[in-house]
């Protein structure tokens, strides 16, 4: 399966702390994206990083990509209660660029 694997599966941290989630994948990619899903809702696209990029920032989000290790990380700084959600990485692969494949997700819970 080309599906990505996130770790940890679940993460609980105190509000204000930083949260780091990791994603690994198996085959070469064009892009990697991170999505957020609030409970009972659809997914929201957060950030895309291309295979020739190593790091990208968007507000409190920082994404890194290491294509040699086939892995990515998502860092959320200064977490807030509203960041409580599931986070999924998704990849589009060079042999199937007409779709993206979602990882298993990390459930993040921000404690007040």
């Amino acid at each position: 399966s080309q599906q990505g694997e996130e770790d940890p599966q679940a993460l609980s941290i105190q509000e204000g702390e930083n949260a780091t989630m990791n994603c690994s994948y198996k085959t070469s990619i064009n892009n990697l994206q991170w999505y957020r899903q609030n409970s009972g809702r659809g997914l929201v696209h957060l950030i895309l990083i291309r295979s020739n990029e190593r790091e990208k920032h968007s507000g409190r989000l920082r994404v890194t990509l290491d294509t040699s290790k086939k892995s990515s990380s998502l860092l959320i700084t200064a977490s807030r209660a509203a960041d409580t959600a599931s986070y999924f990485c998704a990849t589009d692969h060079m042999n199937r660029d007409d779709k993206i494949i979602f990882g298993k997700g990390t459930r993040l819970h921000i404690l007040p």
Binding site: Q3, N30, L43, V44, K99, I100
Partner: protein
């Protein structure tokens, strides 16, 4: 970004019946996708809805079980046919313009089959 309306938001259905889920977009889009998400799990792509032609199904999903229509560039339906309790899941519609990497999702349909 696109705004997607998905109906119904939830339903409880009897075994053996069928349910049709609608996905309406506020603008014309190139690509429309249907996913299934079982509780606490990731998303699995069911099919890509193609305008004016048959949908492209992923391995493990067949047209007889999940017929899909896409009559135009703003609307699609997914039918879950002859339902069984194993079909209980969240079904999500998403759209993309030319780049499938960036998709916009509907709120999903939470289906329970008794």
């Amino acid at each position: 970004s696109a705004v997607i309306s998905q109906k119904p938001s939830r339903d409880i259905c009897q075994r053996g019946t069928s349910l049709t889920i609608q996905c309406q977009v506020d603008s014309q889009v190139t690509m429309m996708f249907w996913y299934r998400q079982q509780p606490g799990q990731s998303l699995t792509l069911i099919a890509t809805a193609n305008q004016g032609s048959e949908a492209t199904y992923e391995s493990g999903f067949v047209i007889d079980k999940f017929p899909i229509s896409r009559p135009n560039l703003t609307f699609s339906t997914l039918t879950v046919s002859n339902m069984s309790p194993e079909d209980s899941s969240i079904y999500l519609c998403s759209v993309a313009d030319r780049n499938p990497s960036i998709q916009y999702f509907g709120a999903g349909t939470r289906l329970s089959v008794l």
